[in-house]
Amino acid sequence: MSIDVKHLAKLARLRIEDDKLAKFEKDMESIVGMVEQLPDVSGDAWNLDPNHPMKLREDTEGTDKLPRAELLSNAPQMQAGCVVVPKTVE
């Protein structure tokens, strides 16, 4: 199957440089070629483990609060206690 790497990259918010495009196309085609061989099985795919069911948390306020300054300390750009991003609304 031929894979449209440019389109996939766009969906994934990636960019593949032109000089690498051919290599990525070849790799993606061989990977998809490998994984596409699957048998036809039917059934309900959304199996849960009945012995160890997941529980929903209580809808209460969390207890492990971190100070805002610490949480923001890793942001690449910050101003007045907020992260800064390029203008998104004209």
Partner: protein, 483 residues
């Protein structure tokens, strides 16, 4: 004998009997790291000053109170486990400067036991790879042969323990990332039952498959460290509520009456004859001690790798969407608008293998392909679970090679991703089924270690550790390798 050469269980005794101090031990391990790591490259960050400070605190504390058996023992941590105040990069440019403001659940446990963290260990970027060659920062070399890879993705965790630059370590396993490097480096690695160790603070790759686990030079140390990190955690909604025994105290290498399943599918094409032979010779030794060998069949194994790469890449593509240059990590220098910033940041921040997995995940989840790939893969996963359940009706543990061959040369598989993926063939089914499995050294082929994998029922870690101990008693505990 230098202190770094001892095992954690020996050191535990020596520390409590005051035959050495944690400070002396930590110095010895740090010196060993300084002497070997230029060649091995296991560490991304060494925090020597912090480690020595902690060691002195533990020595001081020991004079006043009884401490945890692993108190004062140096440990290395895979660099995708969040350590408060200590760089956590996932071996990616994307997180080159990320310092977590919180500790992972396992780090709370490790710190609570007063263990001494010596540093953060190299890995494949975001745990995607089977050789640790996908690290953005450096290559790690196999201490048994520096021309060979240590395996991956927890290659640093395995190499450090093998070389003696860590006494024990933590790794993570999504498709074999603990067991495979353990096998290549001649150490023990346990991939616990899904849900038994909290994933809180583990940087997510494929959330339904990821599990943190212990690595050590012997089974007893592995059991001791597993006891520290298992347990329920409210912060991980997939964390299981379960009562765990004291694994080290209950260790027992008696295999009399144990039924060992041998699945033909794991001894077929693609697995080296010498590896099969090494594994089967060991199993026959256990048979002599009273274990019973049972032939079993796991026919869907042939689809496991395909299902694994579909499911794990699908989950990775959504998990890694968070890396966008806004809240943490790398941000591109020049950009025109928000989309431009996202695309440049991600293209410059991620390596090629991570990009391939994100694109594969995006592909299998995209409209028109979902039913043919993702849904089918989940159904295959269900078949794999059913086959394991049926097999465990006939046997207690399943024995397989941990890897289809021994460690390959650096660069050997880098040109062809599917060739690299094939190295995971013996391990991925375990993650798909959420089962526990252990890799234990069972001999050498061409001077390189071979790992024997035992797979067990959910929460049967004690049985796995006991069986692995029986293997270890045939060969003796591993010692740090000369580098």
């Amino acid at each position: 004998m230098e202190l770094y050469e001892y095992s954690a269980h020996e050191l535990s005794k020596m520390l409590s009997e005051k035959k050495c101090s944690s400070e002396e031990l930590t110095k010895s391990v740090l010196n060993r790291a300084a002497a070997t790591d230029e060649k091995v490259g296991a560490y991304l960050t060494i925090c020597g000053d912090n480690a020595l400070k902690k060691a002195r605190e533990v020595d001081e504390k020991r004079s006043k109170e009884n401490l945890h058996p692993l108190a004062g023992i140096p440990i290395g941590i895979k660099d995708n486990i969040s350590t408060k105040g200590l760089l956590t990069t996932c071996a990616s440019k994307m997180l080159y400067n990320y310092v977590p403001p919180f500790d992972a659940f396992v780090m709370n446990k490790v710190n609570g036991a007063d263990m001494v963290v010596t540093g953060k260990l190299n890995m494949d970027e975001f745990a995607m790879g089977s050789s640790t060659e996908n690290s953005y920062f450096k290559k790690t070399h196999n201490p048994h042969n520096l021309d060979c890879v240590p395996g991956g993705s927890s290659g640093g965790s395995a190499a450090a323990v093998a070389a003696g630059s860590a006494v024990i370590s933590l790794g993570s396993d999504t498709g074999g990332s603990i067991r495979m490097p353990a096998s290549y480096c001649g150490v023990v690695g346990l991939k616990p039952t899904y849900g038994s160790v909290s994933r809180y603070g583990l940087v997510a790759f494929a959330s339904s498959l990821d599990q943190i686990g212990p690595m050590a030079r012997n089974v007893t140390d592995t059991a001791m460290l597993y006891s520290v990190i298992c347990g329920h955690d409210n912060m991980d909604s997939t964390s299981a509520e379960h009562e765990y025994p004291d694994f080290a105290a209950n260790l027992n290498s008696d295999v009399n009456g144990l039924k060992i399943g041998i699945p033909a599918e794991y001894f077929g094409e693609g697995v080296d004859d010498s590896v099969k032979e090494s594994v089967m010779n060991t199993v026959r030794e256990l048979e002599k001690q009273g274990a019973e060998i049972v032939e079993i069949s796991l026919p869907s194994t042939k689809y496991a790798l395909n299902a694994y790469y579909i499911i794990s890449s699908a989950e990775a593509s959504s998990n890694l969407a968070r890396f966008d240059g806004v809240k943490y990590g790398y941000r591109t220098e020049n950009y025109e608008n928000l989309i431009d910033m996202y695309e440049k940041t991600r293209s410059e921040g991620f390596g090629d293998e991570v990009k391939r997995r994100i694109m594969l995940g995006t592909f299998v989840l995209s409209s028109g392909f979902f039913d043919a790939y993702y849904k089918k893969a989940k159904l295959v996963a269900l078949e794999i679970v059913k086959e394991f359940n049926a097999a465990f009706g006939k046997c207690d543990v399943i024995a397989t090679p941990a890897t289809p061959g021994t460690a390959f040369k650096l660069g050997e598989n880098m040109g062809d991703p599917t060739k690299m993926y094939a190295a995971d063939i013996c391990t991925v089914t375990v993650n798909i089924a959420g089962l526990p499995a252990i890799s234990v050294p069972c001999g050498k082929v061409n001077n390189m270690p071979v790992g024997l994998q035992f797979i067990g029922r959910k929460f049967s870690e004690q049985t796995l550790l006991n069986t692995a101990l029986a293997v270890e008693e045939l060969n003796g505990e591993a010692k740090p390798v000369n580098v």
